[in-house]
Amino acid sequence: MSVSVREADFDIGAEIDALLAGRTDVGAVATFTGLVRDMNDGSGVHAMTLEHYPGMTEAALEDIVVEAKSRWDILAVRVIHRVGLLQPADRIVLVIVAGSHRGEAFAACEFIMDYLKTRAPFWKREDTPDGSRWVDARDTDDSAARRWD
């Protein structure tokens, strides 16, 4: 299973090892890990709750992985996105792309993150000293995703 949506944390090294197990054709592995920052839009963040649309999140992530594989010559992909209550420095999302060469691995990894940010149904609510607030979508995420159109 290349895509997981779950509350549990992940071990980046173990996930890479599992994805590459038994393979000797991989020359390049690009990864991205997203973490909870203690500051956002000028406010301290004590905690974050990630809501999602069960079923659609998995389908959306799988569609994005299929699209990445159709665009680049890559060998294996793993995506994990956590949901529920998270603290600053906690890991949120992991994308691993393995390929023969680095250009494809980097491009596909960044593509998956850009599409995930605008197409996968997750929503962040932050707890700040001024109370709880839903995080606004960023215009920069929309423009990042449009680069690939």
Binding site: H52, Y53, V93, T118, P121, W123
Partner: protein
């Protein structure tokens, strides 16, 4: 003829504004698109009008992103939500 019945889900700030995660909705004749469904529910007035007021509303049919003009069929799962903010 029989009326169409669909499941409607709300997420995040919209779920909080409407006070419910979802409901079953019976569609009158002529209510055939996502835009029609949005207007139907918002037309109840009160808090439901927030569905009409929310900027950049996104929607899905059967767990795939869909445009306002997309057709809604009997038994579909429709979802309305704000722009996504995962990752």
């Amino acid at each position: 003829m029989t009326h169409k019945t669909i499941k409607v889900l709300y997420f995040a700030a919209l779920r909080e504004a409407l006070g419910t995660p979802g409901e079953t909705v019976e569609l009158p004749d002529g209510c055939t698109t996502l835009a029609n469904v949005r207007s139907l529910i918002a037309g109840r007035g009160g808090d439901w009008d927030k569905l009409a007021q929310m900027k950049n509303l996104r929607a899905a049919i059967n767990q795939r992103m869909a445009d306002p003009g997309a057709t809604v069929a009997d038994g579909d799962e429709v979802a309305f939500f704000p722009p996504v903010t995962g990752g």
